[in-house]
């Protein structure tokens, strides 16, 4: 019952946000073009690389492309769903956050999902098409696909944890903008499989800042290159991060209610 209400609410927020975005049509289109360009440019870079080196860390051309396509999807979905996080600093600074707290809606939900721009769906669509196309060019198994989808969900869970963490930081310090961009910078490292990095960096990127788990593991399981142990570790880390982020959020809320003035 509650879930239905929240989905309906999300859709309502999304419609309103999109209407606002539409008012500055020019800006909205320019942003969309920018995002597309960013994607295309890196793709060109990859193609340039692969024409000269043929193989990167043992992966074939289409496998590398598939890694990038996975990254792209995992980069697009959070920006679509949790765009509101990018606006959070102004809410806390202007006192609008109090209005969020006073409503009978979870403030975490509101701060995460309250600003989805439906126009981003176009980018999502392109990302999915590109992903499916790349997947068609490599060897996959049914088992691999199931594992892939599960790890995608796990990756989104990790991403969600980071976003919640950033929100909590925003409440405590009002420093949100650079924090969320730092998250983006870190995840960018996953545009290529983390296997290309040497140890100890690879280990660091996989387990400490779990970019590897987010971006590299799903394609690897799709290609049958991931052990069961790693799979389990991935889920454990995903769930732990999520729980920890919720804990941190609750802590931040308590601090806000004790200290805000």
């Amino acid at each position: 019952m509650e879930i239905k209400k929240y989905i309906k609410l999300w859709w309502f927020f999304a419609r309103m946000t999109t209407k606002v975005a539409f008012q500055s049509r020019f800006g909205a289109i320019v942003f969309l073009i920018g995002k597309l360009l960013r994607f295309v440019f890196f793709l060109i870079f990859l193609i340039l690389l692969l024409t000269k080196t043929n193989v990167i860390a043992g992966y074939s051309f289409w496998q590398v492309i598939f890694f990038f396509a996975t990254f792209n999807l995992l980069d697009t979905i959070p920006q679509l769903l949790w765009r509101e996080v990018y606006r959070f600093r102004t809410y806390v600074a202007r006192g609008f956050f109090d209005y969020i707290l006073i409503k009978p809606v979870s403030p975490l939900f509101r701060s995460l999902f309250g600003g989805s721009d439906i126009l981003d769906f176009s980018i999502l669509l392109i990302s999915v098409i590109f992903l499916v196309y790349a997947a068609g060019k490599i060897d996959i198994t049914v088992f691999g696909v199931i594992g892939y989808l599960l790890l995608l969900v796990n990756a989104l869970l990790i991403s969600l944890s980071f976003h919640i963490f950033v929100l909590a930081m925003g409440i405590l310090t009002t420093e949100v903008d650079n924090a969320i961009m730092l998250y983006r910078d870190l995840t960018q490292m996953g545009r290529l499989p983390v296997d290309i990095y040497l140890e100890p960096i690879r280990g660091f990127l996989t387990f400490v800042i779990p970019v590897g788990i987010m971006m590299t593991f799903p394609p690897k399981v799709m290609m049958g290159l991931l052990s069961g142990t790693m799979l389990i570790i991935a889920f454990l880390i995903g769930i732990s991060l999520f729980l920890f982020s919720l804990f941190f959020w609750n802590y931040a809320m308590r601090r806000y209610a004790s200290v805000s003035s």
């Binding site: 320019v30 360009l37 870079f45 961009m181």
Partner: protein
């Protein structure tokens, strides 16, 4: 002259007020550097060569772009748009200060702060990573290196100011700037040196202003350009600087007329 100096000093104050924000910004820069550094270190292992670059040359290039970003790409010109839209421009116009001089001074201040921190970060990274740096010792490339840096600073200032002046016509100042960030990210050579492009494409790219921000100065430093090539590059960047400055002044006059007509 003193007032411009004060503006520069003020930047330091501002940064220290927004300590956390600035610290995170520098952290981001470090991570961006590390990302590209490790990428190329893996792509070009020791002893091998890719696209005509040895590991040492490529890593020098990467570190060079990081440092030059602080020198050339740090700017405050994005505030111009907000300045116009908020109406604060009026306050500035009343002051006995040259508008472009003001923003350029702010730029220098911002650059100085970023350069200082960049140097500290690079110093630490040298200790930790021990990159195989290529140190240019020949005085001629070094001299031209300095010249191209200065040209790069002027060039970026023009681009930044023009982007900022969009504020005269639209409240949408961030969207065009966003596109430019992306264009610069690709065409200035931050991610990779531009000459990995096939020749025909590379020749076209050389006509754009972007390569002269980071790629060209570094190529000069690395000593990989012949004198004719250096002079050709300098000429193109000078042409761009003059053209953009001319446009900048025109746009400024027109925009100012509009701004004062509406009595903002």
């Amino acid at each position: 002259m003193r007032k411009y100096f004060l503006i520069i000093v003020n930047m330091w104050d501002e940064i220290f007020t927004y300590r956390l924000s600035f610290a995170m910004w520098r952290l981001r820069n470090v991570f961006q550097l590390l990302t590209i550094y490790f990428l190329w270190a893996s792509l070009i292992p020791k002893q091998s060569v890719l696209f005509g670059y040895s590991q040492s040359l490529m890593l020098t290039y990467v570190i060079g772009t990081s440092f030059l970003s602080a020198v050339i790409l740090s700017t405050r010109t994005y505030e111009i748009g907000d300045n116009i839209n908020s109406g604060n421009l009026s306050a500035l116009l009343l002051k006995p200060i040259n508008y472009f001089g003001y923003w350029f001074a702010k730029d220098i201040g911002d650059k100085l702060v970023n350069i200082s921190f960049s140097l500290v970060e690079l110093f630490l990274l040298f200790f930790l990573l021990r990159p195989p740096l290529f140190l240019q010792t020949d005085i001629v490339p070094l001299l031209f290196f300095i010249i191209t840096i200065c040209l790069g600073i002027l060039l970026y200032f023009c681009i930044g100011s023009l982007l900022g002046m969009i504020g005269f016509w639209s409240p949408e100042v961030w969207a065009p700037r966003f596109i430019f960030f992306i264009l610069i990210g690709f065409f200035a050579g931050i991610l990779f040196p531009l000459d990995i492009f096939p020749k025909p494409i590379f020749n076209i790219l050389q006509l754009l202003p972007f390569p002269y921000l980071l790629f060209f100065p570094l190529k000069v430093y690395l000593g990989q350009l012949s004198m004719p090539e250096i002079l050709k590059g300098i000429s193109i960047s000078v042409i761009w600087i003059f053209s953009l400055t001319y446009i900048m002044v025109l746009v400024w006059r027109k925009g100012l007329r509009m701004y004062t007509a509406y009595g903002n």
